[in-house]
Symmetry: C2
Subunit: 339 residues, 2 copies
DNA sequence: TTGAAAGCGCTAACAT
DNA sequence: ATGTTAGCGCTTTCAA
């Protein structure tokens, strides 16, 4: 089946067929270059005939970047993350950039991978990962390489950040539960800490304390549905007699908690305990859950990320910026709200 | 913040510092090259000192490929697809390849994107997308570029394929429902056809017919949860008095159907109607659903895809191959099975 | 507006 | 085992 394997046409071939120089070919494929319309047309025609495509590797070798962008993500198989990556990928492509996807869970893995990205003269990097080693981000800074961090702590002195407003989130969560009558609040958090998840939980606990409410912290191993379901089941049952409102660090955990509460423990939601999540993943709106939550607007987030990246590619002398994303409550059936 | 922007070190710089030639540097970074251990060590040391990294663009220009692999996927924010992409991405990285992620829904978009991938001298392409235009795959064939199609029709005469066995899936689904007592079978399919989804449905309907069972086809607009829930709600209610077993083309649709049946229509599952899905996405096992389904083994699928790709990168004269993946029933709570 | 010529950073023959 | 030399395919001064 490997018959007829064609060698790729080069700008040289096109130049010869069109009867022009290689420079002319290059100009024909460079937007805004100084070239006569008829020359451009001749070139375009010849290129089409030969099936010519600019070799991005060679071009990238010449220019300051290759048009590739490193997109680093962990937990890609998770609802929120996959939505973020899909949108980021599409947005980058729309900007004429190409995402190189790096999926890795541990800092070590991520480290060596990013290392290798640098060899591709990427135009920038986007981290949605929980764990970009800060040393690497500093490497990027040293190279003047644009970096955008999504929902990550500003670990180093380099990189723009787009973050959900954790303080606001915690406040909002507490207010929602209190307004709908909760008197004793629980907060479900994973033992493995993460910038956004831990930040939210702390803000929530703080807000509850300010209002003079008593609080309980319930733990799960990690951030998955199963972790949360197990975590609830392993929590001392007496806790559920005390609390009447539960804020979960993520929707995924909230769904696990919900199933544990209703199915495993036979506790009525929202009558006995109200449950509030965070993120507004698609599953939160599904009929079986109908979860009240606080939405992260992924569309807006994506737009901001790409804008920051684009701006910094254009002008690397910018100072580091941080953009806080607005949050909206989405009240469904796991909280009470009739007043 | 853009102070101290360093120029990247080149092999020339390393060569000079190490007191060797550029070839020596090249060899030091080429696994299995002919180089004396002590020379290699000198080079490695100098490279470390200068923060040198091989420029993959320049290397790719010289070799026959850049180490990049095109990973084309649609509906990335869907549970099965995100799992596939995560695993493929990780597996590629483990092979020393780097995935370029192309997410696009329409054939037109995909077309121009793949077009641009070709300019990066990719080592191969993997399509999980529903819609890779066949003309493009033929372009790849003309270039001798390895292509692996996942759950796609063999549209052209180029490309290896990894597919779930649709015929077996349909048979298995019918048998499961019949064995657990169903007499009249329904099949939920999206109007927008897709190779794997339509294939399964047809096989199922065929298998039911062979057993002399009457069947109903229920339609949804597309493959999402919401489409399925809506589709069920818009179906003539009389249908649900007739059927007592429903096979859904995908788990996502099954979950939408389940919520529609139980919550919107008040139909008992599995008592009145049994429901069977396909894929075994994570959500199928969640407590609220506990969906019986037929599993696609994504791990095995990924291994096969990467093996085929690797083999063909090594030897492009291979004939086109197709690997059928085994399927396993996962019986949970939406089917009866007490005999 | 166009072409000639000089690289971008690397690898692979070839010669030593 | 090592160095020399000649490209890979492109863009970009510089002259014309």
């Amino acid at each position: 089946m490997a018959k007829n394997v064609q060698r790729k046409a080069t700008s040289f071939d096109v130049a010869r067929l069109a009867g022009v120089s290689r420079s002319a070919v290059s100009r024909a494929f460079t937007p805004g270059a100084n070239i006569a319309p008829e020359t451009k047309e001749k070139v375009t025609k010849a290129a089409l005939e030969l099936g010519y495509r600019v070799n991005s590797l060679a071009r990238g070798l010449q220019k300051d970047h290759s048009g590739l962008v490193g997109l680093v993500a962990s937990r890609l198989d998770t609802p929120l993350r996959s939505r973020q990556v899909r949108q980021l990928s599409e947005a980058l492509i729309r900007e004429g950039l190409k995402p190189m996807l790096i999926t890795a869970e541990s800092p070590d893995e991520v480290g060596s991978l990013i290392e290798s990205l640098l060899g591709y003269s990427v135009a920038g990097m986007i981290f949605t990962s929980d764990t970009p080693p800060r040393a690497l981000i500093e490497d990027c800074g040293r190279l003047g390489l644009p970096v955008v961090l999504v929902n990550r702590a500003g670990a180093s002195n380099w990189g723009d950040r787009v973050v959900a407003d954790n303080a606001q989130a915690g406040q909002l969560a507490a207010r929602i539960l209190v307004d709908s009558g909760a008197k004793c609040l629980g907060c479900l958090v994973p033992r493995k800490k993460t910038y956004s998840v831990s930040g939210r939980a702390e803000a929530f606990l703080g807000a509850a304390a300010e209002r003079g409410l008593s609080t309980e912290i319930l733990y799960t191993q990690d951030q998955g549905y199963a972790d949360a379901r197990l975590g609830i089941n392993e929590t001392d049952r007496a806790v559920f007699d005390r609390i009447d409102g539960l804020f979960c660090s993520t929707d995924l955990m909230a769904l696990g908690a919900l199933d544990a509460l209703r199915i495993d423990l036979g506790i009525a939601v929202p009558d006995q305990i109200q449950v509030l999540g965070f993120d507004d993943i698609e599953q939160a709106s599904w009929g079986s859950f109908n979860l009240s939550t606080i939405r992260q607007d992924v569309d807006a987030q994506t737009k901001t990320v790409v804008r920051l990246l684009r701006e910094r590619i254009a002008d690397s002398s910018l100072t580091n910026r941080v953009e806080r994303q607005p949050l909206n409550a989405v009240l469904r059936g796991t909280t009470r709200h009739d007043g």
